[in-house]
């Protein structure tokens, strides 16, 4: 098309943003969707570098005090001025009932207004990466929220809808023009955006299409301009189709298998009186039973990078020092025999079936591979909502999970997945360590990583922590899946490895 005319951009994803309330759910797509409407103090560019957004600059005044200078002259979509009150309000709001963003602010952190455009954050402990995750802490308009009684992300007991869940009022490059949950959301450019728009769109129509085949068909038939994810098996098809092409690249997410190592007896297994996963040999046997290359070749069709680490090599520069244990079913059998399970045993595996690329197929393959070393696995593949409900109740024995450190830093991995699970603490320590892997040495290292400001020393500590985990076979990392976006050839866009979609960088040619 030519530049001057109205450019409508239609795109699809497999689901909808669950809500328009920016604090209600810490989920990649929802946040990514919000990031086109709302903004945080900082933002990430296409290489995930931190850029100033609603804050123009910041500095660490003391190890426990950070100062943020806010951008002046920014207005919300409804015309209200943006200022320090909104920042304080938003950071308070993420700690309230119903918010999923509470972990973005360390406990005990105080938010202090210095002046209308300056805010200080006073933390209990030093934190060199305090703001790394704040690209996802979106700033809401305090007045607007108060006026519409949306000062809290949700209050189930009240039995009322949350206004902010269906209406949005951000400072971002796009405004919500209309929205029907799960059906269609129409965005229009925010003419008063503070930044220079780098797009030529006049309207954005978003449609969730959950069926993979339908979504692909819609792209192929030209009904939509862009969509993701493209099922790996359809990449070739989309590429070979005239007028459409794919964009792929490794994602930051690491897919891995977890094992319950905290209970004395597994919840779902025929082994009584003991927990086989407490034995490092069993964990290693599992590790070695899995043919990651077969998974890459057959299930991922090459669209994955097998990983020895629980973090993407992009995010940890010394990742190449690690190597996966080789696929060795015979060794696995030996190990099992040594551990006292010469005939294997039975257990149940929990697996989401609509969360990650080919998640269910991977699990099925894992089940088949384990069968070859004598371990019989009952697969319980379920939709993500059920899966996460179950996993978060720590009601799993063996499971598949994926993790993207939202701060793009190893500490996030350590803190969420690898440190000892402590459910007594608020917030829960290592909340997503569903299997309860625990090695005090790692905890110690992680705590040091948090406050270590010297990059090299910090990396050493991280390396040691990961090494310990690796030796313990605490997790079985599988791979980093690839992003797979499909688009029409006349669309110009940038793909970020964290799978967030920046509408303000889209151009229709």
């Amino acid at each position: 098309g030519t530049g001057a005319k109205a450019e409508t951009f239609r795109w699809a994803f497999q689901g909808d943003a669950q809500s328009l309330d920016p604090h209600i759910l810490n989920e990649t797509f929802t946040i990514g969707f919000h990031s086109n409407i709302y903004e945080g103090l900082i933002r990430r560019d296409e290489d995930l570098k931190i850029q100033p957004a609603l804050a123009t600059s910041w500095e660490m005044m003391e190890p426990t005090r950070w100062r943020f200078h806010l951008r002046e002259g920014v207005t919300f979509h409804n015309g209200n001025e943006f200022n320090a009150d909104d920042v304080i309000f938003s950071f308070q709001r993420i700690l309230k009932e119903g918010s999923d963003m509470g972990s973005k602010l360390a406990p005990g952190t105080e938010v202090v207004k210095v002046d209308d455009y300056t805010v200080d954050f006073i933390t209990e402990n030093p934190n060199p990466i305090l703001h790394y995750e704040w690209a996802d802490v979106f700033i809401m308009d305090k007045e607007w929220a108060e006026k519409n009684s949306a000062t809290q992300p949700s209050d189930v007991a009240k039995g009322e809808e949350n206004y902010a869940a269906f209406n949005a009022n951000g400072t971002g490059p796009f405004k919500v023009q209309s929205r029907e949950t799960d059906v269609k959301t129409v965005l229009v450019p925010n003419e008063d955006w503070w930044d220079e728009p780098k797009h030529n769109l006049t309207e954005v129509v978003f449609t969730p299409i959950s069926s993979d085949a339908t979504r692909v068909a819609a792209l192929l038939s030209g009904e939509i301009d862009m969509m993701y994810p493209v099922p790996v098996q359809d990449l070739r098809r989309v590429d070979s189709n005239a007028g459409t092409s794919t964009m792929t690249g490794p994602e930051l997410r690491t897919i891995f298998l977890g094992m319950d190592q905290m209970r004395d007896e597994l919840l779902y297994s025929n082994v009584e009186g003991e927990n086989p996963f407490k034995d490092q040999r069993v964990r290693e046997a599992f590790y070695r039973a899995i043919d990651i290359n077969a998974i890459k070749q057959k299930i991922m069709r090459g669209q994955s990078d097998p990983s020895a680490l629980m973090i993407s090599p992009f995010l940890f520069e010394r990742a190449d020092e690690f190597e996966r244990l080789a696929y060795d079913p015979d060794k696995a059998k030996e190990l099992l025999a040594e551990a006292g399970y010469p005939d294997g045993f039975q257990l149940q595996m929990d697996c989401p079936n609509n969360r990650y690329v080919n998640d269910e197929a991977i699990c099925q393959a894992v089940v088949a591979m384990l069968a070859k070393v004598g371990v019989q696995v009952d697969l319980n593949a379920q939709p993500k909502a059920q899966y996460f409900a179950k996993a978060l109740a720590y009601d799993v024995s063996f499971y598949l999970l994926g993790w993207t450190p939202s701060s793009l830093d190893s500490y996030n991995v350590l803190a969420n997945l690898i440190m000892c699970l402590d459910r007594e603490k608020t917030p829960i320590q290592a909340k997503f360590n569903y299997g309860g892997y625990c090695n005090p040495k790692v905890d110690e290292l992680a705590n040091e990583v948090l406050v270590e400001t010297d990059q090299e020393a910090r990396n050493d500590k991280i390396e040691e922590a990961f090494r310990t985990l690796h030796e313990d076979r605490g997790y079985i990392p599988l791979h980093q899946q690839y992003l797979a976006w499909g688009k029409r050839d006349n669309i110009d866009l940038v793909q970020r490895p964290d799978n967030q979609f920046m509408l303000y960088r889209v151009n229709v040619n």
């Binding site: 669950q18 189930v156 039995g159 449609t207 979504r215 068909a217 038939s221 030209g222 909502a385 459910r423």
Partner: protein, 328 residues
């Protein structure tokens, strides 16, 4: 007539109450509703508090009463998943489903009835055999397979029709219709055919069977013996008499159409209630399931009422024992 309608209404009320009881039991006894509302790390105290506030500690009968009263006011609570009022969700989605169901039913009728009449009248012609065979295939192919194949052929291969969604929708206040735009009609073609195919074959076979039956009756023979032209015999006498069971079955089938819409909506990403219901099942979103249950029952009851009244209109004998009519 009044007594008849009143009786029907009373029966409908009983049906609705039973369904409400089912829905309520689902609501109340499947899992702990509180668990669905709060996070895992919520303390017991907060839960108890919530329980009290939600009235979950009242006697079950009181709760049921409240449930019915609320349901009667279209208040089904808040969806666990969408955190939105279920009635609003359903209201948003209902037009899509109802339009789809309506189009499918129309399709099924205007294609099914003539085909049924034809095959009934020309029992042994080759075209009848073709119709019958095709109709059997129609019954034997699962809806989802038909949908997938249609998308494959008409959207992907030929690129004639959109593969998903409702096209452009015009908002008429409480109702959003796709029937006022070209793209809306285009989008509706494949889903309504997919959905209506099964019912169409059913109706066709029903009409055929009824025609064969009626053509055998004495009054048709007598009509022929009086020298009436074929047109009058076939359409005036035979077809009209087949209408009674056809109306009944079609009415009942409308309910099925709405239920089968779940599959069609999934395949075509049609933004209707069925799609939402399926998602609700997967996420055990009880309020939506319960409300959908009640809604479907309500639609069924209304259709039944209409069918009964139509029955009344068509058949002067006022025979109301539908059970026997629907028996074959």
């Amino acid at each position: 007539m009044i007594a008849f309608i009143v009786r029907r209404l009373l029966q409908s009320l009983v049906v609705m109450l039973v369904v409400a009881l089912l829905a309520f039991s689902m609501f109340r006894f499947i899992g702990d509703p509180v668990n669905q509302m709060v996070g895992v790390d919520t303390t017991e105290e907060v839960r108890e508090n919530l329980r009290e506030r939600l009235g979950l500690n009242d006697p079950v009968s009181v709760q049921f009463g409240r449930f019915v009263v609320n349901a009667a006011q279209l208040d089904f609570g808040i969806s666990y998943q969408h955190k939105k009022e279920v009635s609003n969700l359903l209201a948003e989605r209902a037009p899509a489903t109802l339009e789809l169901a309506f189009l499918s039913a129309i399709f099924a009728l205007i294609v099914g009835v003539p085909m049924g009449v034809y095959t009934g009248l020309h029992r042994d012609s080759w075209l009848s055999k073709v119709f019958l065979t095709v109709s059997l295939v129609g019954i034997s192919l699962p809806t989802f397979l038909i949908g997938i194949l249609m998308i494959f052929i008409f959207s992907v291969w030929l690129g004639w029709l959109p593969s998903f969604g409702r096209g452009e929708v015009v908002d008429l206040g409480f109702w959003s219709t796709g029937l006022l735009t070209v793209s809306g009609w285009q989008a509706a073609i494949m889903p309504s055919i997919t959905l209506g195919l099964f019912q169409m074959t059913l109706i066709m076979r029903l009409v055929r069977a009824e025609m064969l039956e009626v053509l055998r009756t004495d009054y048709v023979k007598f009509a022929r013996a009086r020298g009436l032209p074929n047109r009058a015999v076939h359409f005036g006498h035979a077809l009209k008499n087949t209408l009674v069971p056809v109306i009944t079955i079609t009415g009942l089938q409308l309910g099925s159409i709405i239920a089968f819409a779940i599959i069609t909506e999934t395949v075509f990403q049609w933004p209707g209630m069925g799609l939402m219901f399926l998602q609700a099942i997967q996420t055990v979103d009880i309020p939506i399931m319960a409300a959908y249950l009640i809604l479907i029952a309500f639609i069924f009851v209304v259709i039944n009422l209409i069918v009964d009244i139509l029955y009344y209109v068509v058949d002067p004998r006022l025979r109301i024992d539908r059970a026997t009519a629907a028996g074959h």
